[in-house]
Amino acid sequence: MSTSTVSTALTEPVAVTAGTILSVRDLWVEYRAERGMVQAVRGVNFDLRKGESLALIGESGSGKTTLAVALIRLLTKTARVPRGTVTYWRNGREVDVLALGAEDLRRFRWKECAMVFQSALNSLNPVLKVWDQMYDTVRYHESMSKDAAWQRSLEVLQMVQLDAARVLNSYPHELSGGMRQRVLLAMGLLLNPQVLLLDEPTTALDILTQRSIINLLRQLKATLGFSTIFISHDLSLAAELADRVATMYAGQVVELGEVRDIFYRPRHPYTLGLLQAVPSLTAGESEMVSIPGSPPDLIDLPSGCKFHPRCTYAIERCRAEEPALLTVGPQHGAACLRWAQVAQDREHVETQRA
């Protein structure tokens, strides 16, 4: 997809090449904790394509936020990346993100890859007006006159459909939750990044506000053409916004595919379990099934496939072997030894749908 629709004084021209913008290989992240090492991200692989939006779904503690934060190197001091690479493609040239020095890293963050954090309330400074926070961000990353920064701030606030001048002069507490979320989005867009990471962009917002943010994100993506990775425990947000979906379980991407494949043709029992656990609103009666057990202890993980203690498909082999993402269809991978059985069991439902 083209990224050339917007050009501002802030950005260099970006070559419009098809393909990957961010590539993650065998990425591991662990936290030091009292009881031992928390294995928060374990051997994650994926490519983010230009202009696409990739949803990371999974339950609390599955490592979604840690993964995203590792990509922009904002991990806390207690975290460590023992292995893995993150490659960003700048004008067709490879940038090794994990090896960037301080100066390059500053440029990478915000200008190339920006993150909007989980809580809209906490990530704005309560004692600073919106303008001061936006100016700080610009000033830290870019040499720009105050006037130009003001102009750019107005511009991005208009993009998120806010009354820009009024908002710039407001303190965060003077804004509603939905408005704060828009301000954060606008800040993410300030330096016109190629990649936007959104952590739970609509969680804790009212339904009607949530809907307006969803519509806004869809529209921004279409006009600005950036790539997004958005994190959500809410499957319906992925159904709304994602081109592709990655399911995370115990720090690993256990399934990755086009959004319709994930929702209509899931091959990993955990993805299937998540889908069956969500009550549907208008799609008629469907039986809800829960996943037995609870998520694993990340300090003391089960052997083999990390899902085996909860998996109704588990066989003896699953206790010993941890499968990698296996190709289960075009552009569709699942880390399950028994995906073919899942496919067979679902054949009835899936052909009915088709």
Partner: protein, 366 residues
């Protein structure tokens, strides 16, 4: 009009709070009745008054206007001592069991205190026996494994089950569950919901089930239950769950249903959207005139909606709506939408909600 058979009745109940910044109308003129064993789900967005309504139902907050009757008795005027008896019959389960369970008490201690204090059982042996039963009821099995556990040794779902078991210690007839499944992960939520439903079916406990999630409300209400939608302190629509989802009457309910994203890409992306006139949520300190939804409502009619406060209009026996325009439409077509259970009388539109109590009498279809 008082409904003899009702377990709980709200009659034009209001609750205001005085804050530094002014008077907040948290609950405004709310009327409904719940029969024994009935499920009533309260849905609405944050700050719409769900929790305050729930707390009043559980006797934890007194109304500042109107009457609340429990088994026909007005508890707003009850002396504190009597109210305590009432509080036994109505129990509340909160959103966050971590905050509501005492961290330094084991499961045994948490459950034995109310049992022994209220004389439900006598002596430790009887207490243990009853607690084992309760833990089995909430599916914490084998129960003996949980007696000595502290809250931090339990998962979120297990803690919520302990909170439910505690609510059951006093054999309540009503449980108010306030966002009781919202903080647990999806994979665990279903079994928690199903467990609560089983309690309704086996123990005959009535539920006021508060949630911001319409799909969860629909599931929990099931066939017999109803959903009440709240907006800025008022119930704007109340009716059997399936009907409300299929055929919502109030413009706000319609907007909500159209806005909810669903976990089905084709369905959710092709949903028909309702366009609101404004996204701003009015402040409870300064409510809009007339119908409080008027600044946002797509059906807004100038000179009517911004001037006159709508009254609840019943549409049949178990269905009521708070809207000038819908009321007019219903009055023009009295044979309009049926209530689903087919009685001819249900189709009449009663404009005089004041005397009849719009939802004062209803049967539970079970």
């Amino acid at each position: 009009m008082t409904n003899e058979a009702a377990l709980l009745q709200f009659e034009r109940v209001s609750r205001t709070f005085t804050t530094k910044r002014g008077v907040v109308r948290a609950v405004d003129d709310v009327t409904f009745a719940a029969m024994p064993g009935e499920v009533l789900c309260l849905v609405g967005e944050s700050g719409c008054g769900k929790t305050t309504t729930g707390k009043m139902a559980a006797g934890l907050v007194r109304p500042t206007g109107g009457r609340i009757l429990f088994e026909g008795r007005d508890f707003a005027t009850m002396p504190e001592r009597k109210l305590r008896v009432y509080r036994k019959a109505a129990q509340i389960v909160h959103q966050d069991p971590y905050a509501s369970l005492n961290p330094i008490r084991t499961v045994y201690q948490t459950l034995s205190v109310p049992l022994l204090h209220h004389g439900i059982v006598r002596g430790r042996t009887a207490a243990v026996e009853r607690i084992m039963e309760l833990l089995t009821t909430v599916e914490l099995t084998p129960p003996a494994d949980f007696l000595g556990k502290y809250p931090h040794q339990l998962s979120g779902g297990q803690r919520q089950r302990v909170a439910v078991a505690r609510a059951l210690t006093l054999n309540p007839r009503l449980i108010v569950a306030d966002e009781a499944v919202s903080m647990v992960d999806v994979s665990i939520r279903v079994s928690l919901l199903n467990m609560l439903l089983r309690l309704r079916d086996t123990l005959g406990v009535a539920f006021i089930f508060i949630t911001h999630d319409l799909a969860v409300a629909k599931h929990f209400a099931g066939r017999g239950g109803r959903i009440a939608v709240m907006y800025l302190g008022r119930i704007v629509e109340i009716e059997p769950a399936a009907q409300l989802i299929r055929d919502p009457l109030h413009p706000y309910t319609q907007a909500l249903l159209a806005a909810v994203p669903e976990a089905d890409p084709d369905l959710t992306r092709n949903k028909e959207k309702v366009k609101l006139r404004s996204l701003e949520i009015p402040s409870l300190l300064q409510l809009p005139s007339g119908c409080t939804f008027h600044p946002r409502c797509p059906l807004f009619e100038e000179g009517l909606c911004d001037v006159q406060r709508p009254e609840t209009v019943s549409v049949g026996e178990r269905r009521a709506v708070l809207c000038h325009v819908v009321a007019r439409q219903m009055a023009a077509a009295p044979m309009g939408p049926t209530t689903g259970d087919g009685h001819a009388s249900d189709r009449a539109v009663g404009l005089d909600s004041r005397r009849d109590g719009p939802v004062g009498s209803m049967e539970v279809g079970r």
